[in-house]
């Protein structure tokens, strides 16, 4: 079946570094940056971007809606 | 067409609400004003005008229902009596702070505490000196007859919507319970939902259409914003004072002595004026109709003409403070008033004038409060 590739965009200034998105990602894509944003929070980023399938789990549990999700079908 | 009827004060007020096109009434039983909601439940105004009538689980719930309906631009009111009004004061403060139009009726009974169910005017301070928390005032109308219990409903809503502010009708058990002739006004159509939305779309929370969302709140965590809100309220009260102060004078043209009394006390004081005049004492009466804004000017003016003033109130002495403030101690001012629900008689009032003002005539402001009621 056609493979699906995904990606997330984190609004780095909105993210509060709560890490609630990490345990819900089935592919262990998300990690926390070493850098901090303007408020001093480490923020989420795609640690393993290739593994993301765009399933939106992370986005739906993010309390601050800092994550936008993209998904595209790719031929195998 | 207007109608002449014989009605109880409380019922005349309820009927007037229906005829004034009120959209909703939220109440709770408490003597001596339960007739208001009883009348409305019997009359079923939702059939006549679509008016909502609901008995809440407490006075606190009722006033917050008023707050809710008012936040959507609807014409809404509630009524209660002294202890119930104490429960409503937080809500009233919210309504004032959130700048919402609403009418609250207090049919006063003896207090403090559970007090008595008999009439009283002991909620004067609570009504005009704030009552709830924060810098706010209530525009207060004091009816002295069943006719005014009816007429003041529409007057109160006119003020409430003119200023987007809560208005209090301060009646008492006497006015609420007695029956008198009353001329009822014609039925005024309620605004349709569309008319309400169109008229109050700039602030009312009726659903965000293609405009910025409306928020009704009294919360301003930023001090500058809170101060601006308080200044907005104070501006309203200044304008109320300029444009909407109301009072009545009775035989003050040649008066040498003055009674100041509102509501039921003013009717008794009026009789006392007649008794006094029969004895050759030139007495007159000023009846404040609005307790806030208080009619200071007329008292200040009459203070140049009269030798003394008696504040006649069914309480231990409250409005006397505003009389003193108005006349700035130019003349002797004393208080007389039965409490506990006892209604003073005209004869008692006249005797008090003779004893406290005419006989000793001293400037009384040094005396403590206790002596004035003994």
């Amino acid at each position: 079946m056609a493979k699906v590739k995904g990606a997330i965009v984190v609004n780095t200034e909105v993210c509060k570094g709560c890490e609630v998105c990490i345990p819900v990602c089935p592919e262990d894509v998300i990690g926390m940056t070493a850098e901090v944003n303007m408020k001093g929070y480490h923020y989420a980023y795609m640690k393993n971007p290739q593994a993301c399938t765009g399933c939106t789990n992370c986005a739906i549990v993010c309390p601050d809606r800092a994550i936008s999700v993209y998904r595209v079908k790719v031929s195998a | 067409m207007s109608e002449l009827k014989l009605m109880k004060g409380n019922e005349a007020l309820a009927e007037a609400a229906i005829r004034a096109g009120v959209d909703a009434y939220f109440g709770y039983p408490i003597t001596p004003q339960s007739e208001v909601i009883e009348y409305l439940m019997t009359e079923q105004p939702e059939k006549r005008t679509g008016m909502v009538v609901l008995q809440a689980e407490s006075e606190i719930a009722a006033i917050n229902m008023v707050y809710g309906a008012a936040s959507t631009g609807k014409k809404v009111m509630t009524s209660s009596s002294s202890p119930g009004i104490s429960l409503k004061l937080e809500g009233i403060s919210y309504i004032a702070g959130a700048e919402l139009p609403a009418v609250i009726v207090n049919v006063v009974r003896g207090g403090p505490g559970l007090g008595t169910i008999q009439p009283s005017q002991a909620d004067y301070f609570q009504s005009v000196k704030g009552g709830g928390h924060g810098d706010y005032k209530l525009y207060v109308l004091a009816p002295a007859s069943v006719q005014e219990m009816s007429d003041f409903v529409e007057d109160a809503f006119d003020i409430a919507f003119k200023y987007r502010a809560p208005v209090l009708i301060l009646s008492d058990g006497l006015i609420g319970q007695m029956m008198e002739k009353v001329v009822l006004k014609d039925q005024q159509e309620r605004l349709t939902d569309e008319e309400v939305i169109k008229k109050y779309d700039s602030w009312a929370t009726t659903g965000k259409t293609n405009r910025e969302r409306n928020i009704i709140t009294s919360l301003d965590l930023q001090s500058e914003k809170m101060e601006a809100r308080v200044h907005r309220l104070m501006k309203k009260y200044e304008q109320m004072e300029l444009e909407d102060t109301r009072y009545e004078e009775f035989q003050t043209e040649d008066a040498e002595y003055l009674f100041v009394a509102y509501g039921s006390s003013s009717r008794i004081a009026q009789k006392a004026v007649k008794l006094a005049r029969k004895k050759g004492i030139k007495a007159g009466l000023v009846r404040p109709i609005t307790l806030f804004p208080y009619p200071k000017k007329v008292l200040f003016k009459l203070a140049n003409q009269v030798k003394g003033i008696l504040s006649v109130e069914l309480n231990a002495g409250q409005m006397i403070e505003d009389v003193l403030l108005s006349v700035e101690h130019k003349v002797p001012v004393a208080h007389f008033g039965r409490t506990g629900g006892i209604i003073h008689t005209p004869e008692e009032v006249l005797e008090a004038l003779e004893q406290k003002i005419i006989k000793n005539g001293s400037i009384r402001h040094h005396k403590t409060r206790e002596s004035s009621i003994l």
Binding site: V14, V24, R65, I67, S68 | V52, M65, A69, R213, I215
Partner: protein, 257 residues
């Protein structure tokens, strides 16, 4: 396939609802309030009912809900949101009216308003976020604080003998005939959040069909109040809150489960 090729407008499958403002949420990192806000706004957006929706905010952590929810909202005195909502719904029977309240607001000072609004079966939605603590005021004991749970006003743990047991409001109101739908959800994982969203949607559908009151409890975390990090608090919630406050529908279509 490079990430940048994926991140194109036409490929976007999820983003913040336009019914959420751009104001930074005042909630602590990882707090369930934010998610509950978002799910509610997503439902209102998807149902296309914003023009007829009026929210009532409480006093508590979500007192500033109207700064985040881009809809018409009225802020109610502490505990009184159900009364405020009652009046709005009675005056505007065609509108969707919902309250959004915390446990102190709904189950302590507002108990009477909650019980009687439910008993009258007002045609509104009550969203009740239960995190077992007074968050805004700094972590005091709430009506739903668990036995043995510490707070600033139960520093040695809640003691049933002197402080009573936590109140199960949803089961309590579910027994009132006026309540048509009563359910307990949570929002801390994608599964729970999706289920919670369905429940919220069902509630607003009930309003549309004038079925009466829908009562949605959302058991949520309070990492600051419980003094844990967000993920720890969610695990603690599963291990301690859920056994006492079991998730799931309690009353559906007017019938107790």
């Amino acid at each position: 396939m490079e990430v940048l090729d994926i991140i194109k407008p036409e490929n976007q499958v999820f983003c913040k609802s336009k019914l959420m403002t751009d104001t930074t949420l005042s909630y602590c990192p990882g707090c369930g309030h934010g998610t509950a806000h978002n799910l509610t706004m997503e439902v209102i957006d998807e149902m296309g009912i914003v023009e007829n929706t009026i929210g009532v905010a409480p006093v508590g952590c979500s007192v500033l809900a109207y700064d985040f929810m881009n809809i018409d909202m009225t802020q109610a005195a502490h505990g009184r949101a159900p009364a405020v909502a009652t009046a709005i719904a009675r005056c505007w029977p065609e509108k969707y009216v919902f309250t959004y309240q915390g446990d102190g607001d709904l189950a302590a000072i507002g108990t009477a308003e909650t019980i009687h609004t439910c008993n009258r079966g007002e045609n509104i939605v009550i969203i009740f976020v239960n995190n077992g603590i007074y968050g805004m005021t700094g972590g005091q004991m709430a009506p739903t604080t668990l036995e043995g749970m510490r707070s600033s006003t139960s520093p040695y743990g809640r003691e049933a003998k002197t402080m009573g047991m936590p109140i199960k409001m949803t089961e309590l109101v579910a027994n009132l005939p006026g309540v048509y739908y009563a359910t307990r959800q949570s929002v801390h994982t994608h599964k729970h959040a999706r289920k919670a969203k369905k429940a919220i949607k069902k509630a607003f559908e009930n309003t549309r069909l004038k079925k009466g009151l829908s009562f949605i409890e959302i058991v949520s975390n309070c990492n600051s109040g419980w003094k844990m990090n967000p993920n720890e608090s969610n695990i603690w919630m599963e291990e301690h809150m859920f056994p006492y406050f079991p998730l799931g529908d309690i009353k559906v279509n007017g019938k107790l489960k």
